[in-house]
Symmetry: C2
Subunit: 294 residues, 2 copies
Amino acid sequence: MFADRLIEAVRAKQTPLCVGLDPFAEKIPALFGDAREEIAAIERFGEAVVSLAAQHAGVFKPQLGLFEPYGPDGVRVAQEIVSEARALGMVVILDAKRGDIGTTAEGYARASFGQAPGFDADCVTVNPYLGADSIEPFLARAERDAKGVAVLVRTSNPGARDLQDLDCSGAPLWRRTAEMLAAQTGRLKGRSGWSGLMAVAGATYPEEARALRQTLPDALFLVPGYGAQGASAADAVAGFTMTPRGREGGVVNSSRGVTYPQGAQHAATLDAWREIVSTAMAGAAAELRAACNA
Amino acid sequence: MFADRLIEAVRAKQTPLCVGLDPFAEKIPALFGDAREEIAAIERFGEAVVSLAAQHAGVFKPQLGLFEPYGPDGVRVAQEIVSEARALGMVVILDAKRGDIGTTAEGYARASFGQAPGFDADCVTVNPYLGADSIEPFLARAERDAKGVAVLVRTSNPGARDLQDLDCSGAPLWRRTAEMLAAQTGRLKGRSGWSGLMAVAGATYPEEARALRQTLPDALFLVPGYGAQGASAADAVAGFTMTPRGREGGVVNSSRGVTYPQGAQHAATLDAWREIVSTAMAGAAAELRAACNA
């Protein structure tokens, strides 16, 4: 089951850190190639990031929206990076935020979970606005192929308030979304007791994450917003559950903070870049480890 | 402006018909090639559909989720079909239902609107769950490049009720979504008076479409659900506004009904297939024309 693979990856690395890859051509060091050939530089940079990430974290999250501007080549490179991460033993959450109905949702599920020419990712992020029948095709395929589905519940951006916090007859919309998912978590539940029907719960709103845990006691959380977006490690794990192993219950993503740390862009050599990025990843991993054990 | 291009395309064809392309390999006639080479068959089928669609409708909507399972090749074929439709003078709405924040949303906007390796589509469908700051990057790029943005407000599927109909302090969520958009429609308003900040309003819920028109008087509507999904032509144009030219205010999509009509799959020759599909498209165009003039 996906849930067990994910929680095992977290336990093996003793940190809930998930390394995110958001390719920004203008932030990639010149070491990775001519900025005029952006997608080639992204490919080399992505592979280098993955090889370091696999040393410090068990989970990897590529941001598909930043590969897509490169068209078919962007998709090809994203797929190669996903394959590489899986080959190195990482669990891959494809951040695609898809959402559609019926056969189209089946198409997105096949694109995300299917083997080549699909991504063969372990999990994909999904938007719930269209309702339960838009999530069902992802769930059905995830059940069949031992994959995971991470549904946006309470995101980390300021605009999350616009719709997700609206009062829906006594509870905010994000809680109604969570209630809609609660009936389904059992379908992706592993032997660990955790469910691979994940909830996206932004680190920038720790109170909401704690409340969300009440509604979804067994869902693994995917927590964006830690690091560059401003949330602390303690806030990031606020929705985790205290266990004899420490706080557990999901992964905390860091993208910019660990892939474009200070000094990395202008590193003189590849070894110097590796040292800077490795230190940033190790730091984030340790900080989150400490927060889970606090 | 996109809004003017779209409404001119509707007026020129005297019908709000938008032809949708949902590639289902198993429904494509054997005339278009060996089903074992699905993406090649989809490419030929898509080009044939577009060449007929351009005769009957001003607007074309490819469903990206059904190209993506084919990986980089799927994106390449989708882009070629979009180019072909635009070359034939059609306005293209890329049905991608994207939604993300900040720089990732900018990435999706660049992928949708940018020239090659982007899609260079006229408009893209967007999901509002993440709030106004997730729509802003699409709007900003649309303003700059004279493109359109079609935001999901009230979709046509049964599950639309799950979240979109929740009572948010006296009004359903879909109306709150519409209110969030109302402040922005002026930014994409054309000389026609219509705005290219479109609202997706399912034909299967005509009462909601009429109510939505009160909140968004100048937004063009993208109406799914007509035909194969069961809504009548009268229901489909329920949210349009009566003008001296008849009912106006958006486009009505038909995908399966006009691209896989009865008898088309087993047509003996390409000419026979063209005849069947052309008749279906002409029929839908005429039915919607009549509904606009009723």
